[in-house]
């Protein structure tokens, strides 16, 4: 089946496909549920067949045929090379420094790619109680680098976080080093409109590439702080027919398996 040349696609599909393209065949990836899981399995089913996918429930080298709804669906253990206990996962594999890329997302992000998934409002009297950090605080510091996937929006890309759930680049260039953290931290923030990367000097997130049909004003309109743009902005190519076909097949299988639309 060949997709038509000018096939339409959603912003979420674009975000997932751009995240998949960022992964390499020899990566060992700590996968999160949602867009990261779709991106990692898309990469595995296209250009990175040997990629190692690890879910924090303990499954190492898993090759799910459908995307899991939870971080510990049976599909993950059934298709994994091995399944270890949760203490082993966090101690030997994550803290042990064996993961090259960790995926994170969140309800809110600031210009240094610190994330909040804990509360909106005061911690003791929250306006909105979010799920909390889970694995994120240690994923953010132990993985070789971190890719963040998040849809943009003024309530999500904020000037000041009410709570720092996981560390990005702290308050700037010296923060991670000062905390004794040697890993790179967030190297890409892949959104539904553009890709941001930390500036090499200041560590502030900078728009490096725009998606087809997206202008600077549209990106700024969805961000709560005045954005920096790189001197040369790259144009990211639209999804290929093959990328869309593999992603949609995967999501159709997933929807059928979970008994309702995914």
């Amino acid at each position: 089946m060949k997709a038509p040349a000018a096939v339409s696609y959603s912003a979420t599909e674009m975000m997932t496909i751009v995240a998949a393209r960022a992964l390499r065949n020899d990566d060992v990836v700590f996968v999160g549920i949602g867009a990261p899981s779709a991106a990692c399995n898309l990469a595995r089913l296209t250009h990175a067949p040997d990629i190692t996918l690890i879910y924090e429930s303990g499954t190492i080298g898993t090759r799910p045929n459908v995307l899991p709804l939870s971080i510990g669906d049976g599909e993950l253990a059934e298709t994994a090379l091995t399944t270890v206990s949760v203490p082993e996962m966090f101690r030997y594999w994550l803290q042990g420094g064996r993961i090259t890329v960790g995926f994170l997302g969140g309800a809110q992000i600031d210009r240094f790619a610190n994330l909040n998934t804990t509360v909106v409002g005061e911690y003791a009297r929250p306006k909105v109680r979010l799920p909390g950090g889970g694995g994120a605080p240690e994923i953010a510091t132990h993985c070789g680098e971190v890719f963040i996937t998040m849809a943009m929006g003024k309530r999500a890309f904020v000037e000041t976080l009410p709570f720092v759930t996981s560390l990005g680049h702290g308050a700037g260039p010296e923060s991670r080093r000062a905390l004794g953290v040697a890993t790179k931290g967030p190297t890409k923030v892949i959104t539904d409109l553009c890709v941001l990367e930390p500036d090499p000097e200041t560590r502030e997130l900078t728009v490096m590439a725009l998606y087809p049909g997206v202008g600077r004003e549209a990106v700024q309109a969805e961000c709560g702080w005045p954005l920096k743009f790189a001197g040369r902005i790259a144009a990211i190519p639209a999804p290929t027919g093959e990328e869309l076909r593999v992603l949609r097949d995967l999501q159709a299988r997933t929807a059928a398996a979970h008994g309702s639309d995914a």
Partner: protein, 323 residues
């Protein structure tokens, strides 16, 4: 030494008001039937400990059983919020709920420290984040060899651990397979333990020498509750009812609808009700029991229809900041 009891007797003997309880199972093997029995017996002022509170703690919290929650990720996996947990934290309904919040790494290390009879766990974590500012249990220690400052958390030593497993043998030894989470650590860290199992067998049969087994003398009570992990799952027996997790969102959003559902399915329920979700043991891939209910479609809704009479599986509202 493990006694094989009914679930009612096991919970009656080992769970009291004011206890700290760890019901573990990382997405897999979550002891739902046992949690429902704790609710039916009306236990109060519990400290609930669990890495991912999941629907079972949403139910216990919403029914007013808990005064404190120790946790590391409180969402409905892949769906969004736990609305009863949120209502307790944001609005103190049905009563206030104190939180002791950690990261997954901290909880996993704290269970391991409990199992190892250590006073605290040490790990490299919590760097540059706000949790240590709101949780006074998170502290640090300098490495005596390198001087590196490392995070510490107190060992978890629950009064009771409650877990679900695939099988016990007649002597009361317990076998776990698949995603084993922190169940072994939780049981060994706890003063008492209850294990619900899919079945009791004469012999575990062929197995890896490295199979995860808790010897009978490490467990207080075993109760046979086939299907007792539904709507989570038991590897080799039945699959996770993902449609139930999606459908729970609408039930738990509304206090009255939640109470009505709990009344019909839990307060007036029995442990035997879970048997309809149970699959069969065996080697290799077990067909999902969800297929065998006679609905023909083989989807989760068909399977869930009876037990969940008031559960209409409608697409949930996408929660921002979910899993």
């Amino acid at each position: 030494m493990a006694e094989i009891l009914t679930l009612k007797d096991a919970v009656g003997a080992h769970v009291s008001d004011g206890d700290s309880i760890a019901m573990e199972g990382f997405t897999h093997l979550i002891p739902f039937a046992a949690g429902h029995e704790v609710i039916r017996q009306g236990r109060r002022r519990l400290t609930l400990i669990r890495m991912t509170p999941d629907l079972i703690y949403d139910q216990l919290i919403g029914m007013g059983c808990a005064e404190r929650l120790v946790f590391s990720w409180g969402g409905n996996p892949g769906v969004g919020s736990l609305h009863r947990l949120r209502d307790a934290v944001e609005n103190s309904w049905p009563q206030p709920l104190a939180l002791e919040e950690h990261s997954h790494a901290a909880m996993a290390n704290a269970y391991e420290a409990g199992a190892a009879n250590l006073p605290f766990a040490v790990f490299r974590g919590y760097r540059g984040v706000d949790l240590p500012h709101v949780n006074p249990a998170i502290r640090s220690v300098a490495c005596p060899y390198t001087g590196e400052v490392l995070a510490t958390v107190p060992a978890l030593r629950p009064d009771v651990a409650i877990v679900h497993a695939q099988r016990a043998d007649r002597a009361g030894n317990v076998l776990f397979e698949g995603i084993v989470g922190v169940q072994k650590e939780a049981v060994l860290a706890a003063r008492r333990s209850i294990v619900t199992v899919e079945e009791v067998v004469d012999d575990f049969g062929p197995r890896s020498p490295n199979a995860v087994i808790l010897p009978a003398w490490t467990v207080s009570a075993i109760a046979v509750v086939p299907g007792g992990a539904f709507p989570s799952y038991a590897h080799g027996y039945y699959k996770r009812a993902n449609a139930f997790y999606k459908g729970w969102d609408a039930i738990a959003r509304d206090r009255d609808r939640f109470r009505a559902w709990m009344d019909e399915n839990v307060l007036r329920g029995r442990p035997e009700d879970f048997a309809r979700y149970a699959g069969r043991a065996g080697s290799g891939r077990i067909p999902s029991p969800l297929v065998e209910e006679g609905q023909g479609g083989g989807n989760d809704e068909g399977r869930s229809a009876r037990h969940l009479s008031s559960l209409s599986v409608s697409p949930p509202q996408g929660g921002r900041g979910g899993a």
